[in-house]
């Protein structure tokens, strides 16, 4: 059982801010836009160092997406910053026509995704954004798990040509991935080897999956844990290789089970290797107010529920 150490809780959005700051220093083509959420998106340092490469658009996300598309004409690499809800659902057609269909090199960076946004409640807690974005042809969809990985992903997407949706969150969460790891878009990461079941997780649920694997280990169940940070394009190889060994899978995500990572994994397995699967995610529901940890618990986004689902899927093997 591989041990992962939390080197100090931090928020994934700060990882984005740190990555953007570094890009400001290293890539002169990177520009940033924000819709009145500079502090929440941790963009202050980039703005301070690159005032001419930053555009405050106000509370006008549709306009922000269009301006970002236009900025690519002339060679800029625009990073848009706002909450996940306002980065996707609110501006779906702007992204669809002006960015995705037009093949524009825009990086849509979305914070406060999922229920862990907390007390603001369901109006702000989008649980459908992965589904919305993965359905757009040509869109790369990434959901990172901790500070280090979010920073690495932010750097990596600047070098990727094409539209990207980068999803991260609000709360401080364990920071456990290596600081110096390079981020490969579309490559899953095998975090823990196991033989009885494969747990495939994204975002905040990756740490919960590692905790679940520890709990399962104590019960004599050997769980393989895979971090799928890139939901599209999906690393089918790592999934098929693992499930051919374990013959059972549990997916875990802070997202509706309709349209999320779990369904992408299901599709891959049904085509290549039909296998019993259980889903950890919200079940066709909106969120509500509460603390992030209360909400994770209430909506079953916890190591405890992952263990329950593993035990269930093992009975179906």
């Amino acid at each position: 059982m591989k041990k992962y150490i939390d080197t100090g809780a931090n928020d994934t959005r700060s990882g984005f801010g740190a990555g953007l700051t570094e890009l400001g220093r290293t890539n002169p083509n990177v520009v940033a836009l924000c819709a009145d959420l500079i502090g929440s998106l941790k963009m202050n340092q980039f703005i301070k160092e690159n005032p001419k490469r930053f555009f405050q658009v106000g509370i006008a996300e549709a306009n922000m997406m269009g301006i970002a598309a236009g900025l690519t004409i002339g060679g800029k690499i625009p990073f848009t910053g706002t909450f996940a809800n306002f980065s996707t659902g609110r501006v779906y057609d702007q992204i669809r026509q002006s960015i995705a269909y037009s093949g524009k090199n825009v990086k849509i960076c979305a914070s406060h995704a999922g229920v862990t946004l907390g007390e603001d409640g369901a109006t702000h807690q989008i649980l459908e954004d992965i589904g919305l974005m993965k359905m757009l042809p040509g869109m790369t969809v990434i959901n990172t798990c901790d500070f280090n990985q979010t920073k690495a992903a932010t750097l990596a997407i600047a070098d990727h040509i094409g539209p990207v949706y980068l999803r991260f969150g609000r709360p401080k969460v364990p920071n456990f991935t290596p600081e110096k790891n390079s981020f490969k878009i579309g490559k899953g990461i095998l975090l823990n080897e196991g033989s009885d079941v494969t747990i495939i997780a994204t975002g905040h649920l990756v740490w919960e999956s590692l905790k679940a694997a520890e709990g399962l280990f104590k019960k004599g169940i050997s769980a393989e844990v895979i971090n799928i940070h890139t939901i599209k394009p999906l690393d089918e190889e790592i999934i098929i290789n693992s499930v051919s060994k374990t013959k059972a899978v549990v997916t875990a995500e802070e997202h509706n089970i309709y349209g999320g990572l779990g369904e992408s994994v299901s599709r891959t397995l049904s085509v290549n290797l039909p296998s019993p699967q259980e889903f950890v995610g919200t079940n066709d529901t909106f969120g509500e107010s509460g603390t992030p940890s209360q909400l994770m618990e209430k909506y079953g986004l916890s190591s405890k529920n992952i263990i329950t689902k593993v035990e269930k899927v093992l009975k179906r093997k």
């Binding site: 106000g58 269009g66 598309a69 004409i73 002339g74 060679g75 625009p78 269909y101």
Partner: protein
Amino acid sequence: MTDILSLEAFVKQVRRDILRMVHKVNSGHPGGSLGCAEFLVALYSEIMEHNPEFNMNGEKEDLFFLSNGHISPVFYSVLARSGYFNINELNTFRLINSRLQGHPTTHEGLPGIRVASGSLGQGLSVAIGAALSKKINNDSKTVFILMGDGELQEGQNWEALMFASAKGVDNLIATIDLNGKQIDGSTDDVLNLGSLKSKFESFGWKTLELEEGNNIELIISKINEAKSHLGNGVPIAILMKTEMGNGVDFMMHTHAWHGKAPNDDQLEIALAQNLETLGDY
């Protein structure tokens, strides 16, 4: 300056192209296309410094964006006849496997198109982004955009109008095609736009008016007047009154030809009113 007679001859040929394109596939939008033929010919022949050896980034050249993408026939005709692609490709308009999609797109790689448009109200934001990119690149050329009047009912335009003046986007000239018509009827009846001049001015735009938007000489002088205001810290708009269906008598003074193609007999009458000048495709 190119002499006005030859520009008017160009316009007549563009009208023929529009009519023949939509007739062939019995679909498309001739009314608005005909109404903007003079404007697009003026832009591409007389006003813009542009390079038909198309480069997406468009550095050191003037750029044009079409927000009301449904008038693609006029855009395609003017692009082809300005050297962006072979005029024979106009034959493929709206056909399967064509680069000339119903609404313009970059997706099929048609030279001259820099963003997809068709879902209305998005073009101004994109044009503003391209104008900002030029500012960062110290590129002194100008961004032009044409928008429909009906599409001003989309809220995104007003976000963009507010942004452009607040942020001093003064390397942009937006022209509004005021034909007063949309699919369901006149703009006055569908959703009255009120005084666009006072709206644009209150949003901080230098707002010029052109009463005769189908007079190519007046179009050119109005755009040149607009250009004289570039670099003054404010965005510039031209409210350009046009006649939908201009140049074909039975298509004028009605919204009926917004999205309807002429039949064989109607095409014959329409073409007889616009004789071949530069050679049909």
